[in-house]
Amino acid sequence: MSLVRALLTAGRSALAERGGVAAIRPFSRALAQPVRITFVDKDGSEVPVDAPVGKSLLEVAHENDIELEGACDGSLACSTCHLILDEVSFKKLKAPEDEELDMLDLAFDLRKTSRLGCQVKVSPELAGMRCQLPAGTNDMQQQ
């Protein structure tokens, strides 16, 4: 442990000698890399996108013209940003709050790996995540 710390300290001071913030940039640049995730549209077509760390899946979808509704602006008042995630990514996420679960319960085509897009923030560990848009929001077309 102390060896690692010594190395890091040496590294940091060495970096600092070489030009301060500009030299430290490699660390933060690595952390700020966009994360590659894939949205799968209702018709099955795949849309790989580069998602900035910290944004919600709903924001990322909107920025990439994915047709995901967000009726309540992410305030946990609806379930229109419902996404079905792949199991691996789903397990990496922190468990949803009760409020999210309440709204998720009302979502159409609910699965074990369902989450609300507005509540999931992009992080580097989610690279490779697949987000499936559910088949529909309800039986709207029933005639």
Binding site: A10, R12, F27, R36, P48, A71
Partner: protein
């Protein structure tokens, strides 16, 4: 050794490889050169195969087939808003810091209503802020669990603004404020009372929230002195859970309308439906019957239009002829007035003149009936109204 951490991280992210051993531009340039040499080429991009490494491209790797965006049918195209009245009202709204649902909900009629002929400009003022606690799928108004607090000066500011216009009819609507103890009922009632105080001759319609179905709150608003109490059913019963916020229900809204009718018999009640959300004609008919049973006298039909990509898609665009059919059917069913058309909205100006006449006539009739002395029933009704008005005034 200190370089291994960033290099590992960079490699893991599949990004450009840095040489951490020297800060000199030449080393970085060399690294860049090698990345350019070894990375995706123009051909890879053109073929859609350039997907290696997150930092390489900032857009989706493959070109996307987007569903062609349908153009609005001819009958839905509107002119861009402009003109003296429109500009004057817009300026006034800003200077008085008033929010209009016309702007917040992106109503297509804004130019027509604000720039109305012969100075008949009508605006629908939205009080209690521009942020709603609910998130209905058809509505463009902002949503938040904790909107900014209510402004205690709002009733007076609103009343002063409205009184300064040369209009005969004003519609006051609000967002839902489930965050307030009384859901904002007291505040809304105060707005209505103050407007009427400053301009008693003004016909006033209030498009009211459901206040969670609490009839004592509905009473506050319905008996505050307005002429028309409106509350929108929005859609048929089957679609309500998916179209409206979960806190709104079909039965609850019917109860609000029934309650308003009972609490304020002289007030005209009104409701509105959006068409094109996926409803069937039979369902629309049933909704109309339900509204009639609730004592509703005025109903409006309008085409649901998707306010933005973040909202529910339109299920069907009904042609003007179908709206005309609904108008005829509604009149035949027994509604006192039906406003129906693709661009008709709850407070669209089309019915205003009639509503004015109708509401005035009703008030006159009621006055005459009281004067004739209908007996204890009239006295009891009057007493009940006074009692509820007094209770409301205490708030």
């Amino acid at each position: 050794m200190y370089s291994s951490a960033p290099r590992r991280a960079a490699a893991a992210a599949g990004a450009r490889h840095f040489s951490a051993s020297a800060p000199a531009p030449t080393a970085r340039a060399a690294a860049l050169a090698s990345a350019l040499r070894d990375g995706p080429s123009l051909d890879d991009f053109a073929a859609g195969a350039a997907s290696g490494g997150g930092a390489a491209c900032a857009t989706p790797a493959a070109p996307r087939k987007k569903a062609p965006r349908e153009r609005l049918p001819e009958w839905l195209r509107v002119e861009r808003p402009g003109g003296e009245d429109y500009t004057r009202i817009r300026k006034q709204m800003r200077s008085l810091k008033l929010a209009t649902v016309c702007e917040e909900a992106r109503c297509p009629n804004i130019g027509e209503c604000w720039g109305g002929e012969k100075g008949t400009a009508t605006a629908t003022i939205m009080v209690m802020g521009d942020t709603c606690t609910r998130g209905c799928r058809f509505c463009n108004v902002k949503t938040s669990r904790t909107p900014p607090p209510l402004d205690p000066n709002e009733p007076l500011a609103t009343a002063q603004a409205i009184a300064s216009w040369d209009i005969d009819y004003v519609v006051i609507t609000s967002v839902d404020r489930d965050d307030q103890p009384d859901h904002g009922a007291g505040h809304l009632a105060q707005v209505i009372r103050t407007v009427k105080e400053l301009k008693p001759s003004l016909m006033l319609e209030c498009l009211s929230p459901d206040f969670g179905g609490d009839l004592s709150r509905v009473a506050l608003v319905a008996t505050a002195g307005l002429n028309v109490f409106a509350h929108n059913l929005e859609t048929v019963e089957r679609l309500t859970p998916t179209v409206r916020d979960r806190r709104a229900t079909y039965r609850q809204s019917l109860a609000v309308l029934t309650g308003a009718r009972a609490l304020a018999p002289e007030v005209v009640t009104k409701t509105s439906l959006m068409l094109g959300c996926g409803e069937t004609a039979a369902e629309v008919r049933q909704t109309m019957r339900d509204a009639l049973s609730a004592g509703v006298e005025i109903i409006t039909f309008g085409q649901y239009l998707q306010p933005s990509k973040r909202h529910m898609a339109v299920s069907r665009m009904l042609p003007p002829s179908e709206y005309e059919n609904w108008r005829e059917e509604g009149m035949a069913m027994g509604f006192k007035y039906v406003a129906s058309g693709p661009l008709v909205r709850s407070s669209y100006k089309a019915g205003e003149v009639f509503l004015e006449a109708f509401a005035k006539e009703k008030a006159e009739q009621a006055k005459a009936a009281r004067a004739l002395g209908e007996g204890k029933a009239a006295a009891a009704r009057g007493g009940a109204r006074q009692a509820s008005a007094a209770a409301a005034a205490q708030l």
